[in-house]
């Protein structure tokens, strides 16, 4: 079987799960596609899952109320072994990429990380993935009776529902106790569209000048055109904006239809988080700024002058 571990949030199956289902259907590995749902009170998620998978295994347990990498790794490993999985697909989220290596070690399986493409070739599975801060695309290959892979969000089209709903089965799990105590969580909130979902993102860099200008120019433009708001690390480090908005190597990876960078230089670490955007638009007063090398549309000019004009002109 191909085992896919469902990702969900707020009681709803995540887009990443549907993307993994496409990867599972198209990769050419053998076996029925099984979605594994782990958590507590996940009946609604399991029902959604049944619409896209051949079968759904549901681990609905108090011990799974809170995500923990060791607990998740143990659960996934047990099910992979019992089902003699040939392939285990896990989301390329922060959490997925922190427990997937544990699953690979437990199964003595090779691990293909953050795949953007998966293709079976005989007994082997080939993956494409980005390396060198997303500047290089590498092709790698693993073989063996079972292979673990994480799937980069946004790399596959979301799967459509299957012809018939899959059957649901409750599973029993032997789980280790978590050794990590969580002492308080703070969840990112935004009044705008989340960066991962946004089709258009307006990002401000140090060139915007001040937190006040950021609110006026970056948020002002974003609100006019219904965009999400991003920031560079320089702006986050300066305390102008929350870390939740940071795009780049140590922040979020985004791939919107349009990425509008205001006063952003285009450092490698920033590019690695947004360089795959479909359209890149840059406004910078320095014609030599590296961001222009990756820009589809660029204005060489002062954000203090250009952005107010843009805001005025984009008001309907």
């Amino acid at each position: 079987m191909i085992l896919v571990v469902a990702e969900y949030a707020g009681g709803k199956l995540g887009k990443s799960t549907l993307e993994m289902m496409t990867a599972a259907r198209e990769c050419g590995r053998e076996g029925p596609i099984t979605l594994l749902v782990l958590g507590q009170d996940v009946a609604a998620v399991a029902t959604e899952a049944a619409a896209v998978a051949d079968q759904v295994l549901v681990g609905d347990l108090p011990a799974l109320a809170q995500y923990n990498p060791e607990v998740w790794a143990a659960a996934v490993t047990q099910i992979a072994k019992e089902g003699e999985a040939s392939t285990v697909l896990i989301g390329g989220s922060r959490s997925g990429r922190e427990y997937a290596p544990r699953v690979a070690v437990k199964l003595d399986a090779p691990y293909l990380e953050d795949a953007i493409k998966l293709t079976a070739s005989g007994d082997a599975l080939q993956a494409q993935r980005y390396t060198y801060l997303a500047r290089v695309t590498e092709t790698v290959e693993a073989s063996g009776p079972v292979i673990v892979a994480t799937v980069k969000p946004g790399s596959f089209a979301p799967a459509a529902p299957a012809a018939a709903a899959g059957e649901q089965f409750d599973i029993e799990l032997e789980l280790p106790a978590s050794r990590t105590e969580i002492t308080g969580k703070s969840v990112e909130k935004t009044s705008r569209v989340a960066l991962s979902e946004a089709e258009v993102i307006v990002t401000g860099g140090r060139g915007v000048g001040s937190p006040e200008n950021f609110a006026q120019f970056v948020e002002g433009l974003a609100d006019n055109i219904g965009a999400g708001v991003g920031a560079t690390r320089a702006v986050v480090d300066a305390g102008w904006r929350p870390y939740a908005e940071q795009v780049g190597q140590t922040g979020k990876t985004v791939q919107p239809k349009a990425y509008i960078a205001l006063g952003v230089s285009g450092a490698v670490q920033h590019l690695s988080g947004m360089g795959k955007s479909k359209n890149i638009i840059a406004i910078n007063k320095d014609a030599e700024a590296p961001i222009f090398k990756v820009a589809d549309y660029g204005i060489v000019g002062d954000v203090n002058q250009i952005v107010p004009a843009l805001i005025a002109a984009s008001k309907k």
Partner: protein, 253 residues
Amino acid sequence: MKILTLVRQVPDAEARVKVSGDRVDLDGTTLVIDGMDEYGVEEALRLREGDTGVEEIVALAVGPKKVEDALRTALAMGVDRAIHVETDERFDAVALSKIVAQVAGSEGSDLILLGGQEADWDSQALGAASAERLGWPQLTWTNELKVEGETLTGRHDVDDGNEGFKVNLPAVITAQQGLNEPRYPTLPNIMKAKKKELRKDDLGSFVVQPGVKYLGAEIQTRARLNKMIDGKDPQAAAEQLLDLLRNEAKVLA
């Protein structure tokens, strides 16, 4: 407490990455210690300076001969000694974790510190895989860390925000931005580092085989339009840009 820090050597952020044939070609490229591993090294040094009972800090690197330079940087920052497993072969993180676990075992390490993501293979897997082999817990993307006795507390980034944690040693911690600002090695410390021990461990003393084969590498640059608009007349420039975004790129309504 004995700390093991893991160090990689990666292209300098300013360096242009090139591919020759089916490989990334690092000939002539300036190589530096991975910035995220540097957070790990710095944190080890701060834990010691904070008087939390750190007995020794060791840096480990696996890779070609030139990786010595990255280890020398760690030594110059203040690490006590270094271990280099020299090999030109490329090991994926799950394979590499065997070496890490074996070294941590023979060194009697209680805490492993490394970067949250590698700047060369963009991998986040080494910390977790090493923790699994050692049977230790792990915390990834850590941006705050304190040690009291055998207990680690701190904060780390998770999928939808961040959370505080408390865990007992031994453990693996991967570092994230915000944890600290790494120091620059001073000239006297660079001189001193030359005399510190840099031990070579033979790859043959580890039972390790790559689990992943590398078939090829390419630089796929997306063709960009590079349409530049002069901003001298802000009004006209703004209107021209909006027109292009609406009618050519079709990304705005």
